[in-house]
Symmetry: C2
Subunit: 314 residues, 2 copies
């Protein structure tokens, strides 16, 4: 009997990353499939399955596939694996369960979850969350995603939709958000928001900045640019407000910062820690950690596999 492994699929809109993941979180093989947005469901699944079969044959020919996990953006029904939103650009996926189809093809139990919930599962099983039983992961990128771990398990809520930390309301009179509400964290801490806040500050001072990225803003802050430093402080304060609410409500041990923006590391974590006491009880603040997540690009893959491992072990 060869090595035991899970398949993790990180579905990203028009492509899917495939990974074979050992129980210890080691990636034994990986590949990527482009998905034709006009294809029908059957042919999409055929191309994913085909590529996966080849990957397995090449990487772990004698291995034993235990389970398949799939992570996708948006809302996923965690019982059926049906994607409820977040796959709008591929009409054939509407109302269908990719995870169920893959499970049937490969004859193993299969599961699906939101990509940020998967990222939380990756940190819990293999990453920066291994030593915590109660933590929140926020992923800062194009949007702000979130996953919660309570009592050593990813929280999914009544129908699998829990963890929308990016839509905590920070200000009921704040900016309108894509979700239709106002003042959501996402409007103050996503990569585009960081770039926007910085550009607005510079514009106010009649300084041209072109089209900065969040990464530029952190680099400028490193160089001592006053508007960049103030922008990072604003972003940290917004995150601290959301984290304070989560602490008060859930008595967590740690916050992990993932997604592209997490490359900023201490430059972002330090001011979050500084602001956090303004938004929570001293007793709840005690020993709380704010840390970068362990994974960025592989969070989806590893997390989809970690989710599947967790669910077969229940």
């Amino acid at each position: 009997m060869g090595i035991e492994y899970a398949v993790g699929v990180d579905f990203g809109g028009t492509s899917a990353k495939l990974g074979l993941v050992g129980r210890d979180g080691r990636i034994l093989g990986r590949d990527m499939v482009e998905i034709d947005p006009r294809a029908d469901f059957r042919s999409i699944m055929a191309s994913v399955s085909g590529r996966l079969t080849e990957l397995i044959r090449g990487a772990v020919p004698d291995g034993r596939l235990l389970t398949i996990g799939l992570g996708t953006p948006g809302f996923v029904d965690s019982e059926t694996g049906i994607v409820r939103s977040g796959a709008e650009n591929i009409p054939a996926l509407k109302g269908m369960s990719m995870s169920a189809a893959l499970g049937e093809t490969f004859g193993v139990p299969s599961f699906a979850d939101n990509d940020a919930n998967c990222a939380a599962a990756a940190e819990l099983s293999f990453g920066a969350g291994r030593n915590f039983r109660h933590f929140a992961l926020v992923t800062l990128g194009t949007g702000v995603g979130g996953g919660l771990v309570q009592d050593g398990r990813v929280s999914r809520g009544a129908r699998g939709f829990a963890g929308e930390i990016g839509h905590i309301c920070l200000d009921p009179h704040g900016l309108w958000c894509n979700c239709g509400s106002r003042g959501c964290l996402e409007q103050y801490a996503s990569a585009p928001a960081i770039a926007r806040i910085y550009a607005e500050r510079k514009a106010k001072r009649e300084m041209a900045v072109g089209e900065p990225t969040a990464k530029d803003v952190f680099r400028k802050a490193e160089e001592g640019d006053a508007e960049a430093l103030d922008t990072v402080d604003d972003v940290a304060r917004s995150l601290a407000q959301a984290f304070g609410t989560l602490l008060n409500v859930l008595n967590l041990e740690a916050f992990l910062i993932g997604g592209g923006v997490s490359q900023a590391g201490e430059r972002l974590c330090a001011p979050i820690r500084r602001h956090l006491p303004d938004f929570t009880w001293p007793l709840l603040m005690k020993d709380v950690r704010v840390l970068p997540a362990a994974f960025r690009n592989d969070a989806g893959l590893l997390g989809a596999a970690a989710t599947a491992y967790e669910r077969i072990s229940r």
Copy 2:
């Protein structure tokens, strides 16, 4: 062998309500003990135990005591039962565990939790939460307390301090709160807050109101008083903002309103429901209920017993 029951103790600062509670939530006997704030720990526990022994002898002489639960205000370490805050007016309780002392005296497992967590346990086991596995209870009274139920269990967080819904930050530039933070829900939805908002509205219009209570405000609203109606709408909107955040993060099925202010019933629940969609995703809103809790005065007693029943059954 007689009837099986649990003891529930609802500790309220300078008095403790005692109840004998059957597995079905029936109260088989009850009493109350005044606590002398200057007494030492041993004599406080002796007077509680003595009264409890008499109560048991009178009400269920042939019964079988299974467990003891204790609810207290403030923060309680759910593992040890030590009250970390909320019993400041009785110095002898500092650093001590009343639940451990009672458990030893009566020779049964004993547990302690925050009173709002207990109230959530009461609703889950015997009340308006029986048909839900994921809900929040907020108690609106002198303060705003909260308890969360996820996956059919009261959430306690890392150290038993979870559920501080009253300290969700609604506005980072808002009113200073007793907890040291700003803009907490408690400042906008407790009974004193309701009275204050109404009095401020009347004062702005140069109308005298004396010293209204929250109850007066709801009665005035019933009579069509414009400022009272606006006050109730404000309070409902503040609660909707907090509930929207909880929905986004936890994908709950229901919100239960407890505490004295919950007497307002539909007069308060209806405008909360109306405002809620402004603070959450449509998908997360679907089928969510906003309801009065089943218990008010007995929530503490029943909940302390429900907590103990739940914990011995793990």
